[in-house]
Symmetry: C4
């Protein structure tokens, strides 16, 4: 139970998670009452890569009434968490505001994805969070 | 890792998800302070079909004190997301407001279902979301 | 795909869910600003029994600093949903307010359990929900 | 179906849960409007140990831009729930406020972990909760 067990080569950290994740619920509020990045309305995919190799992740965005867009490419470095704001995705194109969407994450190494939204359209904030749907 | 891998015939997108999904918690608030469809109280099943074939989905609604109602029929088209508001289900009958219910989704192809509610009975909104219970 | 498939004897509805469920997070707020049962602070286990036999459920409540209490007995009738408020559990003893607890559900037939809380300690409501941890 | 079944040696309570859990989303709000510990902004890992042996748990905290920190050691006693506030972790070092993080829990016996946050940065509270990602 020493720290070598945790951070060493043969650690369980190498194989935590799944390679495919889905967030079926996506919506970027069109407005916000927040005056800081923290309190601005946002939707986040919290990605954790516990392993020793960088995770190369392809994101595809699905819509209600047109073909999917992607892939978007992001990297979750080894032993790091990446709290990715969907508002920040720009290439190949930004995700439109006030539009229903869904997202699929495909990674070359196991990761964990949790979905969170902060909505500050009104004076008080509202929060939601759920572990995404994972499949190996 | 080129885009053909993602959108091609042999893609993992064909087999993401499950065919049976359950949302054990359902409740349509009887009132709302929202003046737009976006901020009106609503309960949503966010459905994603990543595959190449349309998903034909049968929804059954369960109640506390009477027989289940259904099936309701909806289609989640190939490569599309459907953010279905329970308030919009009309046939065979609308879901009553201010009543506890639960829902089961049966699809002919794999889909993913996430449950979200926006409650604007009071001045500020409250949000909840969770990936539904899936079973293949 | 006719309705007999859904409501018939050989339906998939007989085997949806798990027999053991856990809600590791429990807390009954000590106060409330709601003036109706709907807007009163409450914590709910939303139970769905899609099968043809009543579910006999034993609930055990765990605490931080004393032995578990139970079993509490509840029945989720066949083809019904039961939205159980923890505030309503009385036998063998009520769950104390303002105290951390956790709960385990054991059923004799498969069920699905989703955990929801409405907190109205302040003027606006806050909501949370998550599918419980299930194990067969 | 007597209580010996539940609390006895051969009970299902011995094997409920998983040994590895992940919360990919972590954030300690830097401020709070709450004047009591209950209404202060906080992030909690609700841990349940239903078994007969104490759970020795190692927590590792991951960040966006530096090496992980840990292990933190906590004990969830037999037949007890532990509602652990991340704000209370001090050794080897406190978790910084207003910083994205993620956490991995490794236990020597099966446990269940649920993630909850209460955010009272503004006048009204916001809540989120989700069962963590578990892996045996």
């Amino acid at each position: 139970m020493d720290s070598a067990w945790l951070f060493g080569k043969e650690t369980i950290m190498e194989c935590i998670g799944e390679r495919v994740w889905v967030i079926a619920e996506g919506y970027l509020p069109p407005s916000s009452t927040g005056d800081t990045r923290q309190l601005e309305s946002h939707e986040t995919a919290c990605i954790l890569n516990t392993g020793e190799r960088d995770a190369h992740i392809r994101i595809t965005i699905f819509f209600a009434d047109r073909e999917p867009v992607g892939p978007y490419h992001v990297v979750a470095p080894a032993r790091r968490t990446l709290h990715l704001r969907f508002n920040d995705l720009k290439d190949p194109e930004p995700i439109p505001l006030d539009t229903d969407y869904a997202s699929v994450f495909e990674s070359d190494v196991p990761i964990i994805v949790q979905h969170t939204r902060l909505d500050s359209r009104r004076a008080e904030i509202a929060l939601l969070s759920t572990v995404a749907y994972g499949q190996d």
